[in-house]
């Protein structure tokens, strides 16, 4: 089924009647995603783009057997929305919302991890299994089916890379934007095993950036992988102590430096591109070396 989602995934949209929720529900439907339900408290019984709307996630699931949820709920209420989905037993939750307080996410991620429910995000563009299912806000038209998996901390930068891959004839299996916050439902190391096991994926592009140590932790796991991983780290000229855009991208003290990340990946045998445009060639070489 590629990674986590495919054409059979039944998606529920939390916050479907909001501006963003409605806009992207339309986009997802156009891509072919099975949107089976929406949730907006107080709007239960209505329809949005032909999708039935419910007051609570529990009711939506009872009525539609949705097994994944995507969250467009505003930041002050987003953590509660994630917890509602966890409590209702959704298998996969993709939280697009940005600007959620870190403490809310520390609590929410702790609950999600305890229950074993997969959370992607927050502050992420979502994920896509090319040609089958798109959950989130990624521009579907730049994707094409193929053997390259992609997992990234970035949004538009990911699109840029996908665009480069597609133009180089390298289609994608599944692409996941894990989000830019300091605390994430799934980190690189949580998701790489899924790509490693996925039959559709032959190589994985990992797009990291300054801040935290997810890339270093991932490098340790990559040593054990059979499939090739190609890396890219953005922010290599960013100064320490300055937050670059979102809360995750900051070099604090001695953690989060780009050099440490590049070094960790390279020492794990990962070819790391110095510039974006080098990525497709590195992927091609990795695929060639493999056979």
């Amino acid at each position: 089924m590629a990674v986590l989602i495919d054409r059979n995934t039944r998606v529920l949209v939390q916050g479907i009647t909001g501006r963003e929720g409605e806009f992207h529900t339309r986009q997802m439907l156009e891509y072919g995603t099975q949107i089976v339900a929406g949730v907006t408290p107080g709007k239960g019984g209505q329809e949005m783009l032909g999708v039935p709307v419910f007051d609570t996630v529990r009711r939506a699931i009872q009525a539609t057997d949705a097994d994944a949820s995507v969250i467009f709920v505003p930041a002050p209420f987003a953590a509660d929305a994630v917890l509602e989905a966890v409590d209702a037993g959704v298998r996969l939750i993709v939280c697009i919302t940005e600007g959620i307080p870190v403490q809310d996410m520390v609590k929410t991620v702790a609950v999600a991890r305890q229950t074993g429910i997969r959370l992607i995000g927050p502050n992420c563009p979502g994920m896509i299994t090319a040609g089958q299912c798109k959950i989130g806000i990624l521009p579907g038209n730049i994707f094409t089916t193929g053997p390259i998996g992609l997992v990234s901390r970035s949004g538009t930068l990911t699109y840029e890379i996908v665009d480069l891959l597609t133009k180089a004839g390298l289609g994608q299996s599944t692409c996941i934007g894990i989000g830019g916050d300091p605390v994430l439902g799934s980190t690189f190391v949580d998701l790489l095993p899924l790509f490693e096991e996925d039959e559709e994926t032959q190589a994985v592009v990992l797009v990291g950036e300054i801040g935290g140590s997810d890339e270093e932790i991932a490098a340790e796991y990559i040593r054990t992988m059979r499939k090739p991983v190609i890396g890219f780290i953005s922010g290599r000229t960013a100064p320490p102590g300055k937050r670059m855009g979102h809360a995750g991208a900051i070099i604090s003290g001695r953690t989060g430096t780009p050099q440490a990340k590049v070094d960790a990946l390279r020492s794990a045998g990962v070819p790391v591109a110095d510039a974006l445009h080098e990525i497709p060639d590195l992927v091609k070489q990795a695929l060639a070396n493999r056979t």
Binding site: V106, M244, A247
Partner: protein, 382 residues
């Protein structure tokens, strides 16, 4: 958001954390009045967001109110040159505090441990020193406790950490209450950092926050109207402050090539490309999703406030928003301003060619790849 020492102490006191008596002054006269009020010796402390204040002369002892006034006069309006801020930070306020007697100096810190996805409480008997240096040279001297976010820091965890760190045993009960109160203050105020260094034990067994450093999670400001007044002072660079007011993510970097892009990762990569091409970025600016004319205008205005900027590179990836619409937004936004420096516009993604076609004949310099855009902006600003 960084807050000043005096603000951090206001927050801490609100949650029952013991701090020395004191008050903030904006004029030498105020400083004198506060010192008179406190009685006895006081310390006059420059309120700036930079470490190494003490060595730079930003903390001065005063035996009399008269002396406190003199120190305040010397500090307020001056610049402080610290190792962390060699360019100098202007001082506009000083904190006047009672001078406290010190029996022992310890370290307490709470921050998010990203790898473990929970807060970590750190205790060390090696207070007053740079904690990163302690971490390097005596890692065993820093005791760490990871806190369950739903349960919070339990009293027994605080005691364990304090005993293990080698805090004077008779001080542990008081210090444990201090530490659990500090954790409460940290969470209740949605902090991302709370550091008490030094954490002082006085000869008569009191525990006090001699210094205090707190950062507040910007994402949580919506539920803290009480921090509204702190916000103004949190950013020292005037352009960054203006960006803050306009709700735009802007970071000044000191070079001469203005950078505007959509998405933090993409903008960071743009900075990297410009550096690789031999240029020096003046700033980081992320306009986020879409590219509305109003937003483009705002962003460009901000970038041009920096007098060093000799040219601007726009780098936008059209995703769900199509490239031609993005180009129109940029053109509309730019046309409202009289721009005297060269602009390189790089558009990629959905309908990028159509977008670039719209820029033909506008005086703007189009580019197809990031590499090309970086090369062009470096050329035209050289």
């Amino acid at each position: 958001m960084k807050i000043h020492e005096y603000q951090a102490k206001e927050v801490l006191a609100r949650y029952g954390v013991s701090v020395p008596r004191g008050n903030v002054a904006e004029t030498p006269k105020e400083a004198r009045a506060i010192a008179e009020n406190l009685g006895g010796r006081v310390v006059v402390k420059a309120q700036v967001h930079a470490g190494g204040r003490g060595k730079a002369g930003g903390i001065r002892l005063a035996d009399t109110p008269q002396q406190a006034e003199e120190h305040a006069r010397a500090l307020i309006g001056s610049k402080l040159y610290t190792p962390q801020a060699p360019q100098g930070v202007p001082v506009s306020k000083v904190l006047i505090e009672e001078a406290i007697s010190i029996a022992q100096e310890y370290y307490l810190g709470i921050t998010l441990d990203r790898a473990r996805q929970r807060d970590v409480v750190m205790v060390s008997a090696m207070g007053g020193m740079d904690i990163e240096q302690v971490a390097d040279e005596h890692p065993e001297a820093i005791i760490k406790v990871w806190v369950d976010p739903w349960q919070g820091l339990m009293p027994y965890q605080a005691r364990q950490a304090l005993y293990d760190a080698g805090i004077a045993r008779e001080a542990v009960p008081t210090a444990a209450r201090f530490l659990t109160a500090l954790y409460r203050a940290y969470t209740a105020s949605d902090s991302s950092l709370a550091e008490i260094n030094p954490f002082v034990l006085t000869p008569d067994g009191q525990c006090l926050a001699a210094d205090a450093k707190m950062n507040i999670d910007d994402n949580a400001l919506f539920r803290h109207p009480e921090f509204g007044e702190y916000r103004e002072e949190s950013v020292e660079d005037p352009i960054e402050a203006e960006a803050h007011r306009r709700g735009i993510q802007y970071v000044r970097l000191g070079g001469d090539i203005g950078i505007i892009g959509n998405g933090a990762g993409l903008v960071m990569s743009t900075l990297d490309e410009v550096s690789r091409a031999g240029g020096r970025p003046a700033n980081f600016l992320d306009i986020g999703g879409g590219a509305k004319a109003e937003l483009v205008r705002n962003a460009l205005e901000l970038v041009l406030m920096d007098p060093n900027v000799k040219g601007v590179l726009f780098n936008v990836f059209g995703g769900i928003t199509r490239g031609d619409e993005v180009a129109k937004g940029i053109l509309e936004g730019i046309s409202a301003l009289e721009v005297k420096v060269p602009l390189v516009i790089r558009l990629a993604g959905t309908r990028a060619e159509e977008g670039l076609a719209l820029l033909q004949g506008t005086g703007l310099i189009p580019a197809v790849t990031m590499q090309e855009a970086a090369r062009k902006i470096v050329e035209v600003t050289r």
